[in-house]
Amino acid sequence: MGYPNKIILSDVDVHRVVDRIAHQILEKTDGAADVVLLGVATRGVPLARRLAERIHAFEGRTLPVGTLDITLYRDDLRHRSPRALGHTEIPPGGLDGRRVILVDDVLFSGRTVRAALDALNDLGRPAVVQLAVLVDRGHRQLPIRADYVGKNIPTSLSETVKVLLAEIDGCDEVRLMGAGASPAGRADDTAKEASA
C-alpha cells in the first residue's frame, strides 16, 4: 500500500519540526551545554545548521556545528562505483568529552549511522553520542534508534522518502514516493539509506 508522491511535511511543517527538535535538545541536554552538532552529509548538514540557528534564537547559545562525510566508512563500498567524497569538518575544540549530536535527514536501515559512529571513533572520544533525524521511516537492519525524531513515517520497502531542503533543493518538503517512482533530487542520500 503506497501513497504515490504524497507530501508528508510541507515547508511550514519542516520548520515546525526543526523547532521542536531544537526544543527537545535543549530539554534533554540541560540547555545544550557542551553540545556539538554534527551534520551527516549531505542533507544532515543544513539541518544541523538550522538546529543551531534555532537553539541560538531560543536560548542565545551558539553551538559548534561540524560536518561528517561517512563515504569512506560505508560497508557497501565494493558493491558500488566509488563516489565523490564530501567534506568532514570538526569544529574547533574537537569532540573529546563533548556531547555530540549526529544530525541526518532520514533514518532507514541504520547503516549510515553505524558508519558515522565508526568515523567518530577515529575523530575523537565524545562523552555522549545522540542522533537527531528529520524522518524515521523504519526498516532498521541494525540495533540503532534516534534520540530526536521529527516525524515517524511508516513505509513499505518499495517506497522512497524524499527530503528536500531549501539550501540544496530550493524548497523545504518531505515526500513519500510510491513504488517505482523516481527518487530524483535526493538520489545520493536515498542510495545511502537504502544500502543493505
Partner: protein, 306 residues
C-alpha cells in the same frame, strides 16, 4: 574511473580533477590523530619494485596502509627475479595470491602495460624506464593547485635532464590536459628537439635565464650523478652554472612563482640549498601531497565495485 593508471595521457580533465578533489579530503586524514580509514579493508596491494625507490614505494605503502589495505612489498633484489624469474611468472604468482592492485616500478618502459594483460587487478605505474610516472604528475599538479589556486593558464618551466625523465614526460602531458603551458629547459643534449612533439604547444628553450621571469612554476629535475661528465654535458660545474637554480636566479622569478623538485635532490648541482629550502620551495609539500594523491588513486580505483 579508470581501472589502470599507466600514463598521464590516460587522464582527462574530469578524472584528474576528481583525483585532486579526493586528495584534498584524504589530506585531512593525514592531519588526524588516527590516520586510518577502513575503506580498503580486505584488499591487497602489492608494491612490485624492480628498481630502488624509497620515496615512491614508501609513499604508496603509507597510502595503502592508511586505507587499511594489506600491503606486500616485493623487491627484485633478493627475490626470485634474481634467480631468473620473468615478469610474467611473477605476475602469475601475484594473480594467484589475489592481488587487487599492483604498483609497479620497472626499468623497462612499457612493463606496467604488459602487466595489465597478466593480472586481473588494477595496475598503477610507479615509474617505467624513461617513459612515465603518472602519480608524480598528479601530485605535482595537486601541489600547484594548492599553492597557486589553479593550473589552467600557468607557465611551467621543466628544467634539466628531460631526456631521461619520466617525471618530465608525465608532467608535460598532464599539464597540457589541464591547460597549463609547458616550457622544457636544458642543454640541447638533454632536451632534444623532438620533445616538441610530446604535446601540441610545448615549448623548448636552452636558456634558463630567459624563461625564469615568465614562469609561475620552475620544476627542477634531478641530474643523475651517473651521467656527470658523460657526453651530455662537459662537467657538473658547467651544468650548474647554466641550468642550476640558485638565489640569484630565484630573484629573476616572479614574486608568486614556486620552485618544485621531485627528489631526490643533488644539492649544489641542479639546485642550491638556498633555493631548495626557501619559502618558494614546495619540495616537502610534494612528499606530503604524494601520500594524499596516492590514497585518492587507490580509493577511486579499488574502493568501488570489484
Amino acid at each position: 574511473m579508470i581501472k589502470h593508471l599507466l600514463s598521464a595521457a590516460d587522464l582527462d580533465v574530469a578524472t584528474a580533477t576528481e583525483i585532486h578533489d579526493t586528495a584534498v579530503e584524504m589530506a585531512t586524514v593525514s592531519g588526524r590523530e588516527v590516520k586510518k580509514l577502513p575503506t580498503l579493508r580486505g584488499r591487497t596491494v602489492v608494491n612490485l619494485f624492480y628498481e630502488d625507490s624509497t620515496r615512491t614505494r614508501t609513499s604508496f605503502e603509507v597510502a595503502a596502509k592508511r586505507l587499511s589495505a594489506d600491503v606486500i612489498n616485493f623487491s627484485a633484489k633478493g627475490s626470485s627475479v634474481e634467480k631468473g624469474e620473468s615478469l610474467k611468472d611473477t605476475a602469475w604468482t601475484l594473480q594467484a595470491m589475489g592481488a587487487d592492485a599492483v604498483v609497479i616500478r620497472h626499468p623497462a618502459s612499457g612493463a606496467p602495460h604488459r602487466l595489465t594483460g597478466w593480472v586481473d587487478g588494477s595496475v598503477l605505474n610507479a615509474g617505467d624506464g624513461t617513459h612515465e610516472h603518472p602519480t608524480q604528475a598528479l601530485l605535482d599538479t595537486f601541489t600547484m593547485r594548492q599553492r597557486l589556486g589553479r593550473i589552467a593558464g600557468l607557465n611551467v618551466a621543466i628544467v634539466g635532464d628531460v631526456l631521461h625523465s619520466r617525471v618530465a614526460r608525465s608532467n608535460t602531458l598532464l599539464l597540457h590536459t589541464l591547460g597549463a603551458k609547458v616550457t622544457l629547459v636544458g642543454p640541447p643534449t638533454l632536451v632534444p628537439g623532438n620533445f616538441g612533439a610530446l604535446t601540441p604547444d610545448v615549448a623548448i628553450s636552452y636558456d634558463l635565464d630567459a624563461v625564469l621571469p615568465d614562469a609561475d612554476v620552475v620544476m627542477m629535475l634531478r641530474v643523475q650523478q651517473e651521467r656527470m661528465g658523460a657526453a651530455f654535458f662537459p662537467s657538473a660545474r658547467e651544468y650548474s652554472r647554466r641550468y642550476g637554480l640558485d638565489a640569484a636566479r630565484m630573484r629573476r622569478m616572479a614574486d608568486h612563482a614556486i620552485v618544485m623538485h621531485p627528489g631526490p635532490m643533488n644539492r649544489g648541482v641542479e639546485i642550491t640549498s638556498e633555493a631548495a629550502d626557501s619559502p618558494r620551495s614546495t619540495i616537502v609539500e610534494q612528499v606530503t601531497n604524494g601520500v594524499s594523491v596516492r590514497m585518492a588513486c587507490l580509493y577511486l580505483m579499488l574502493g568501488g565495485r570489484a
